[in-house]
Symmetry: C2
Subunit: 327 residues, 2 copies
């Protein structure tokens, strides 16, 4: 199980962050993919109407990378009221102090520039996230590194409830961090964001990929192509490492060597990266064409949500029985 807050399009960072792991594990696991649309209100409170389109767009992005609706259950949080009741019950067993100590919450406040003007719902987010996972009894959660603190809180909640129940009603949640710890932005910024314009979307056209890559930040200490360059911390090489296929490894190594010796220019390596990325994205673009239809996306979302809601209703009932809240 994993999820996204639909505030924009998915990009290459999301692919290496967790989608790649979902692809790898899809034959082994019953996978659930959540769209946390109400959480998107945190940054879109004045313009909430765009969230729905982002949610459907994210489902399209994920279908396009190869997570088909037959292999993955897509579900939309706001369509499952029982998730919110679960989260509310959890919040009775988590102290307010503990919630404020969550380092990811602190980071997000800084990153999103929320100052002291964040909503009450924002502080509750780890509860919703715990409910998003636990409602379908999630065991393995492929996530980005920044989400680990939330997952720690979810684990604490499973422990409290299992203890109250006197048996294991929730499995221990394990996280799975992506192969590439964190993909840098095309401008070298360690944080990718829509507002910085430093991402390459999974839906980018060939031309857009070319533009982004040709403008990519490389090695600021290197003025001429004949100067020895740095490979580490250089986005061009980070992207080559992240998206080159097995068969490309030899050539990537050659380019790295030549770059540090001042034997190859930025333009040549960038052109190569454009080719690597467009190769990677070719099948994604093909599948996107097939799925890009609002009615079809809606039907996929509805079907998955119906299944997840059924699971959630069972889970909620189980928790309510533990608490004796059954009428």
């Amino acid at each position: 199980m994993t999820g996204f807050t639909p505030t924009g399009k998915l990009h290459l960072g999301h692919f290496v962050g967790n989608l790649e792991n979902l692809l790898k594990l899809k034959s082994e696991y019953d996978e659930f993919l959540l769209l946390a649309d109400t959480h998107a209100i945190t940054t879109l409170s004045k313009d909430p109407k765009v969230i729905r389109q982002h949610a459907l767009g994210n489902i399209l992005d994920m279908l396009s990378v190869g997570l088909s609706e037959d292999e993955v259950t897509y579900y939309i949080e706001s369509e499952i009221p029982e998730i919110y009741e679960l989260a509310s019950l959890f919040s009775m067993y988590v102290s307010h102090n503990r919630a404020l100590r969550n380092p990811t919450i602190k980071d997000e406040i800084k990153m999103k520039g929320l100052g002291d003007q964040f909503s009450l719902g924002f502080i509750n987010y780890p509860m919703y996230q715990a409910a998003d996972i636990m409602c379908v009894k999630g065991e393995l959660v492929p996530v980005g590194k920044d989400q680990e603190a939330h997952l720690e809180q979810a684990r604490e909640i499973t422990e409290v409830l299992n203890k109250l129940a006197g048996r294991e009603i929730f499995p221990l949640i394990r996280t799975m961090i992506g192969r590439v710890g964190k993909l840098v932005g095309t401008d070298g910024n360690p944080k990718m964001s829509k507002s910085l314009g430093n991402t390459i979307y999974l839906s980018a056209t060939e031309k857009e990929v070319e533009e982004k890559v040709m403008n990519m930040y490389t090695d600021p200490t290197r003025i001429h192509a004949t100067d020895p360059g740095h490979v580490e911390g250089n986005p061009v090489f980070e992207y080559l490492d992240a998206f080159g296929k097995e068969g490309d490894r030899g050539k990537i190594s050659e380019y790295k060597y030549a770059y540090t010796k001042g034997q190859v220019g930025d333009v040549e390596v960038k052109k190569y990266l454009v080719q690597i990325l467009n190769n990677f994205m070719e099948p994604i673009r093909e599948r996107r064409k097939e799925y890009d239809n609002e009615e079809r996306l809606l039907a996929i979302a509805q079907k998955g949500t119906q299944r997840a809601r059924g699971e959630t209703q069972k889970t909620l009932q189980e928790v309510k029985e533990v608490l004796g809240l059954v009428y």
Copy 2:
């Protein structure tokens, strides 16, 4: 609309606080009565299984005072997941700072001795309360004075949502404070509480009423029956004023006069209060006998909850349409 957190039995303070107003208005309004059972976890987190019994007991208390199931819709919060989703959506539009500034929250922390160990859910309580009211489009809320700060927050939420919607989807919530601002405990403590044992339950027997009244705190400055006594701040007279019927007013006035002149003893006035209270409680006890059956109470709770849930689903859909979260 009004509600109770089922942490114990209802007492005379609840009657004058809001039940009396519900009785008065029942022919004019479509009344809803909520049991906020998940909020009861705040103080009963280690023993949540008693909450259900309190909830059914509170419904019995309310039926007994004359709020029949044909006139009032009884509903149980935990049985309506959509209330929690509404509350979650509201919490996206309320700042964390605003929630912490709520004076009732501050008072409750002090009163319940929660220190800094209160739950996240506790801070969210005003959101649930807003959702409890707004889910059935509550207009008039008979409440105790201590709940006014919560209601103020609910009003702020109606304003935000009506503004987002561009029309009035929620009516302005008006509060209605009971005739007796606040009934003191039988020990003279301004706060009634189960742990202090200073309440008279609506379910008290004649004997229990007698015991409580005969041990009532009166005027500590008065040693002998012939000493002039104080009527103001004297629980015996406060209860006489609160529960004496129209026809008893003359006699109550005479007793007050005699008491200030040292012409009547505590015992005589207390015996009179016992009689007044037992007269008041006689019809309550009769109706209690009729309703005191778990299956019947459950059926009443289920029927009311079903109706309230239908209303809540409509309200949630309306709010989600305003936010564009419709799939």
